[in-house]
């Protein structure tokens, strides 16, 4: 047994990669459909949007690029659909050059599955350079920062933007990001203008953001694929309850099934590695 454990702990990494690949692939082909229970930080964001009066505005800042797409993109799509389902007007924008096309795809999906109409049910402002300058500029007047939307339409002529001048007219800002941009929103929008801010971030940066929930600087947080899956599951439930037959892909929910199996495998690897280490130590 000891020899076996030592041998197992010294297994070549390529076999580990293969095992991991199978552990992540098989649950995607044969989904176990694990339940998604909403965690408190996700629930805070969900309930905030859910209880907003129809016609309110939520700023969805797609501060991410293709490198974090599998985690952050499903969050953006789910929150966007939730806003539209509740009659809340999502204002799409981005502080990242690559974010515009990625976010635009999410809006197109909302058009396809929910019949959302541009300039009436949603607004898409696109990209504007200069992180702090943009965030501070919106606090003064959003029209100075984005005189036109992504498609070249002047902001003044967009019906959904009527009465929206600055943060006072925006109920919530959600920064979808794989970096520290949500904290930049806290520094310049929350601390200066007392704007309510939420974060939708990659798992790798989530641990750094928890203190901001404790302090109340974030309304809530969607963390990694788990957060995306929880929100996606809840939005799909609303769509089913409203009798919408054609549902969008549940990428995060299905991805989380694979992720859970992979996580168990890593825990198993850690246990085997440690047992092998102690077995080899005892032999010496």
């Amino acid at each position: 047994m000891r020899k076996f454990l030592i041998k197992l702990s010294k297994i070549e990494r390529r076999y580990i990669y293969l095992t991991l690949f199978l552990a992540l692939t098989l649950p995607l082909i044969f989904p176990p459909n694990f339940p998604q229970k909403m965690s408190p930080t996700v629930k805070s964001v969900f309930e905030f949007i859910d209880t907003l009066p129809p016609g309110s505005h939520v700023l969805l800042s797609a501060d991410y690029d293709a490198s974090v797409l599998p985690e952050v993109d499903p969050m953006y799509r789910a929150v966007l659909k939730h806003c539209i389902l509740r009659g809340v007007v999502p204002i799409g924008m981005t502080l990242y050059p690559q974010g515009a096309v990625l976010a635009l795809d999410a809006f197109k999906e909302a058009e396809e599955y929910l019949g959302a109409r541009r300039d009436t049910d949603y607004v898409f402002l696109g990209y504007q350079a200069g992180f702090q300058a943009v965030i501070l500029g919106i606090g003064e007047n959003i029209k100075n920062v984005f005189p036109k939307d992504y498609f070249g339409t002047p902001i003044d002529s967009i019906p959904a933007m009527r009465g929206v001048n600055n943060y006072k007219d925006i109920a919530l800002v959600i920064s979808f990001s794989g970096s520290s941009v949500p904290v930049t929103w806290v520094i310049y929008a929350y601390s200066k203008y007392h704007q309510k801010v939420a974060a939708a971030v990659t798992a790798v940066s989530a641990a750094d953001f928890y203190p901001y929930i404790q302090t109340g600087q974030f309304v809530g947080m969607l963390a990694g694929m788990k957060g995306a899956a929880e929100y996606e599951y809840a939005v799909r439930k609303i769509m089913k309850d409203e009798g919408i037959e054609k549902l969008p892909p549940a990428k995060a929910v299905k991805g989380m099934d694979a992720n859970s199996i992979g996580h168990l495998l890593i825990m198993l690897f850690i246990i085997i590695g440690n047992l092998g280490y102690f077995a080899s130590k005892r032999r010496k």
Partner: protein
């Protein structure tokens, strides 16, 4: 199973597989895909910045609308290129100094408020608590912050009571590292899952993965 007929999906699938070949060992196929990605991302970013930042914020107001106020940012922007001429390279410090001044002025008070004031406020125990769970949570936070701060206090030897407190601080730090590691594993898996979903779903057309 309906294999995609979209040529761009095939390009993306082949490039994804080319990147995965690195798991076996470094090879020209991987290098090609890597360099292509860097090139495309840089080129794309450059074009977006030109049309969304340079053109509307400088070219249009200065060269088309002849708003002469924009000469000031244009002048300071041009100075960045002085780095290429050794004789005038000192001029590059001027726009840097300007940006540093503005950046510091804007961010120091707000950052102090965000990072120090708000975070310190949240560690203060505020009685009475509505239930025991909230009190325990606040107490753990209070003890955690205090012991970790003492662990990083190096002006006094970590012996006796200070040593014991700093060892408690290490436990909190380790729990923090554990949480970060767990999240990192999930993040890395998520990226791989995303690619597998693309390969099996969009490329090979296995409908269960999406």
């Amino acid at each position: 199973m309906h294999i995609s007929t979209d040529p761009w999906v095939w390009v993306a699938a082949i490039l994804t597989l080319a990147i995965f070949t690195f798991l076996y060992k470094d090879n020209p196929l991987f290098k090609f895909a890597e360099h292509l990605f860097v090139g495309v991302a840089t080129g794309y970013g450059l074009v977006i910045i030109y049309f969304n930042a340079f053109k509307p914020n400088l070219y249009q107001p200065l060269f088309v609308e002849h708003n002469l106020l924009y000469i000031i940012p244009f002048f300071f922007g041009i100075l960045y290129f002085s780095a290429a001429i050794p004789k005038f390279s000192y001029m590059m410090r001027w726009p840097i100094a300007l940006l540093l001044g503005i950046g510091s002025g804007l961010s120091i008070p707000l950052s102090f408020q965000t990072y120090i004031v708000e975070h310190t406020k949240s560690t203060i125990l505020r009685f009475p608590y509505p239930n025991a769970a909230l009190f325990i949570n606040a107490l753990i936070l209070f003890i955690g912050v205090l012991t970790v701060l003492i662990y990083f206090y190096f002006s006094y030897p970590h012996k006796g009571a200070i040593g014991t407190i700093s060892r408690i601080g290490i436990i909190f730090i380790m729990i923090g590292f554990g949480a970060s590691f767990g999240y990192t594993v999930m993040a890395r898996f998520s990226l791989l899952v995303g690619r597998i979903q693309f390969l099996l779903g969009q490329w090979l057309g296995i409908h269960t993965v999406m």
